[in-house]
């Protein structure tokens, strides 16, 4: 399989994630979509690492994964907070701040 296929598939995934971020009303749904975007990046990294770009790609995947975990932790804490405050986690309902 050639590199461009991997990059394409990653691109697909990125776009799907983007779509999710744009359309999901539920905060956790957005988290899910962000995961897809990060995952797309990881696929890229792994693919590039495989196709002659050296070891660093894989290293970076490790880091992004860890970062994402941290991010999810924080995100879920915020979601919980939001839920307690509003009894709801639909993000488009949280629009008290605007203008």
């Amino acid at each position: 399989m050639t590199l461009d296929a991997y990059v394409l598939i990653a691109g697909f995934m990125f776009c799907i994630g983007l779509y999710g971020v744009l359309t999901r009303r539920n905060a956790i749904g957005i988290l899910v979509s962000v995961e897809l975007m990060v995952n797309a990046a990881n696929i890229n990294l792994a693919a590039f690492a495989h196709f002659g770009r050296g070891i660093d790609g894989q290293v970076l995947v490790l880091f992004t994964t860890a970062l994402t975990v941290a991010e999810v932790v924080v995100g879920l804490a915020l979601v919980l907070l939001l839920f307690r405050r509003r009894k709801d986690i639909l993000v488009d309902l949280a629009n008290g701040l605007k203008g």
């Binding site: 394409l8 990125f14 744009l22 359309t23 956790i28 749904g29 995961e35 839920f83 009894k87």
Partner: protein, 193 residues
Amino acid sequence: MIERLLFGAVSTVLVFTALMAVTTRNLVHAVLWLGMTLATTAMLYILLQAPFLATLQLILYTGGVLSLMLFGVMLTRRSSEQDGVMVGNESNGRRRALPIVAIMLGLLVTAVGRTPLANAPVSPSPTTAEIGKRILSTHLLAFELLSVLLLAAMVGAIVLARRKDASLEGTNDPRERAAALPGSRPAGAPKEV
């Protein structure tokens, strides 16, 4: 050939599960679809001869992230959905999101098409030990920093998620607030929860 077939299958599943993750109306299902996507990605890593990453993916993501998310879903059910069968995950704004995403996709495809990638040579797959060495030499600082980050995230998340860490906080009564000021605490003030 087999590789190609495998790739085709994996990528089809990948895209399908990803699509499901962002479109299904049940949040629990969405998280599960995500889990499947991530697992499929691990397959892709194996195709890319990166077993280390595949393991990482399965452990960290599917084990950690997914369960965290499910936890979150459970904790944030709306009162009307107490039975837990259906956790709402509606979408909106599809009509304006689609063109953007389509253009993005088009751009990616164009870029890929215009960039000579096909004949990139395959490099020998690094061993886990090599990766570890790399992490512990050049990227040691980042690695150390990562631990600080995780610590901070955890500490912060715990504080934020704590249900109600003080009866005093969030009150608007200036008297109570004044009482809470350091050094001026009245005797009968409520004790910490």
